[in-house]
Symmetry: C2
Subunit: 133 residues, 2 copies
């Protein structure tokens, strides 16, 4: 017997799919607990890790902050707003970055992580308002 189809796994996965805003693990915990209050934080973390490991979800590692999760697994990147912390999708092909490296470093490249930091449209507006005042 290998992998059991538990209620908790179904709920966490469904919840992640329903939340389209790249939630953190703790945000998923809160959301799941609103309908299933007895689920444990450790369980949600375990299930999200498993989803990320199996490729059913993406783990977005944010500089400094908590990991975010994305149920969309097609190849894309993320922008992280340095002001409000929001995470958004970016679809941009960046080809061959990894393979370009293999000969120069001696490392066998397994992957790379590319993450952008910036200001989201809302925070840009707020900045302008503050500057104007």
């Amino acid at each position: 017997m290998q992998e059991r189809n538990t209620l908790q796994k179904r709920i966490v996965h469904e919840t992640l799919i329903r939340m389209c805003n790249h939630p953190t693990a703790d945000e998923v915990v809160a959301e799941v607990q609103s309908t299933y209050p007895t689920i444990s934080r450790a369980t949600v973390y375990r299930i999200l890790n498993k989803l990320a490991d199996s490729g059913e979800a993406l783990r977005i590692r944010i500089n400094n902050g908590a990991d975010h999760f994305d149920h969309q697994t097609f190849p894309h990147y993320h922008v992280h707003c340095s002001s409000c912390g929001k995470v958004a999708d970016v679809t941009m092909p960046v080809k061959e970055l990894g393979s370009m490296l293999s000969d120069t470093s001696g490392y066998k490249i397994q992957g790379y992580s590319l993450q952008f930091d910036g200001l989201c449209p809302e925070c840009q507006e707020n900045e302008e308002i503050e500057a104007g005042a």
Copy 2:
């Protein structure tokens, strides 16, 4: 009076320069304490943060693990060995990644972080030995 030239700052910076292996903050703490045992962990963290903020050192954010520091500040990237955790330099121009994004996402891009993961030459060897045995 703005910035004071303290013994601690000199020692931490010198130590970082002397350690060419992209140490973590705690590795710097250990190294400094070997000759100056009374220095505080908080002090080393503060000084490294200041060096990174002022551009006198680079902060290398490793997925999952502790930040590493690099006294070399010319533009380059890093490879992180997923097996032993070692960090190595990669010099490869990646131009315009940020500016390519500005129109597609609505974000005002302030920067990006690009980090490679792979196996260092030593760990590749170990892997082959294990596979052969």
